[in-house]
């Protein structure tokens, strides 16, 4: 069970199980089982004790692993593996110390450029997640608006701002106004204006 000691450090005690996303403002001591992701903002140290079992993605300034760890680590300052550490996964760190006796297997990127790129990528992934959720919400709203006219109003599909010629109105306005009416455009164009059919393209029904 997570608890805070007198020095305001977060502790996940031995035997405790945590599953989810944990965001901390400082350091933490992990003695139990953690699954998910841990983000430690600030200069504190994130320590995984010898008896801990972790399957998570971790981002912190300083990470000290003494137990079993399976996942990704982003250490903006230092990553340290003690002799009892058993680690697999991808690591991005500014500096790295692996003591004799530790076991580590995985891809590693060390250096300030790698840390900066990973930090930016992590921020972009958060932003893109936020943007995608916002876009999804907007898309849902726009789809609702697009679908609204069809459900709210039953307008004929051919409804455009077309001025019907006099002969069409004289022959039966209702039939001429329906979308199924076959209008001989070339005839009435020739009769009324004498213009070519190109002019009628703007009034296509």
């Amino acid at each position: 069970m997570a608890e805070q000691n007198q020095t305001n450090q977060t502790i996940i005690g031995a035997g405790a199980r945590f599953k989810g996303e944990l965001t901390l403002s400082g350091g933490a001591l992990i003695q139990g089982t953690v699954e998910g992701s841990i983000i430690a903002e600030g200069p504190g140290e994130l320590k995984f004790a010898a008896q801990s079992q972790t399957r998570a993605s971790v981002r912190a300034a300083t990470v000290l692993i003494e137990g079993q760890y399976d996942g990704d680590v982003l250490a903006t300052e230092r990553l340290q593996l003690t002799s009892s550490a058993r680690v697999t996964g991808e690591v991005v760190a500014a500096a790295m110390i692996v003591a004799e006796g530790a076991t580590f297997t995985g891809k590693v990127a060390i250096g300030p450029d790698a840390v900066a790129a990973s930090t930016k990528a992590a921020g972009n992934s958060m932003n893109s997640a936020m943007n995608s959720s916002i876009n999804n919400a907007m898309n849902i709203e726009s789809h609702a608006r697009a679908a609204a006219p069809a459900t709210m109003e039953s307008k004929p599909a051919s409804r455009t701002s077309v001025r019907l010629p006099d002969w069409a109105a004289a022959n039966g306005g209702a039939a001429a106004a329906s979308s199924e009416a076959s209008v001989n455009r070339s005839d009435w164009m020739a009769q009324t204006t004498g213009r070519t059919g190109q002019k009628s393209a703007s009034a296509e029904v």
């Binding site: 297997t105 995985g106 590693v108």
Partner: protein, 143 residues
């Protein structure tokens, strides 16, 4: 009375057999696999054209070194201060100094990468990870 010669324990980088050799010896032949072993400490300073650099002692890639080597092996310590892109194994410790610019694959018993060092690739730390492939040719060179 015979003068006692200081000895040291080394491990063959071909067959991983442990053997004891005089401390001042510069090369020897493994009594198990009969392949030559380089016992010298090696410092790479320039653009070493050697494809493989191996020693049971210490191997140092100096700050301005850009070895073209694709495989490195050190028995005791591999210290990188310069630049390389290779597969490196060490029976002991690998140290990446802050001026190191490395990529490839590292295998060792322990590792230290100072702040400022740059490395990209695979790292494998632990027992039994520093063995060289049996197909590695027995070749070593000094800078």
């Amino acid at each position: 009375m015979a003068k006692q010669v200081p000895m040291r324990d080394v491990r063959c980088y071909h067959c991983q057999q442990e053997l004891t050799v005089p401390a001042a010896a510069r090369n020897t032949t493994c009594p198990t696999c009969y392949r030559p072993l380089n016992l010298d400490d090696i410092e790479v300073r320039g653009a070493s054209p050697s494809a493989i650099i191996m020693t049971v002692g210490r191997l140092t890639i100096e700050a301005k070194a850009k070895p073209l080597t694709k495989r490195l092996h050190a028995g005791e310590l591999l210290e990188v201060r310069g630049q390389f892109d290779a597969n490196a194994t060490c029976n002991g410790h690998i140290h990446l100094a802050r001026s190191a610019r490395a990529s490839g694959q590292l295998k060792a018993q322990s590792l230290t990468a100072e702040k400022g060092a740059t490395f990209t690739g695979l790292i494998q730390i632990g027992p039994g990870t520093s063995a060289i492939d049996a197909a590695t040719p027995s070749r070593a060179s000094n800078s």
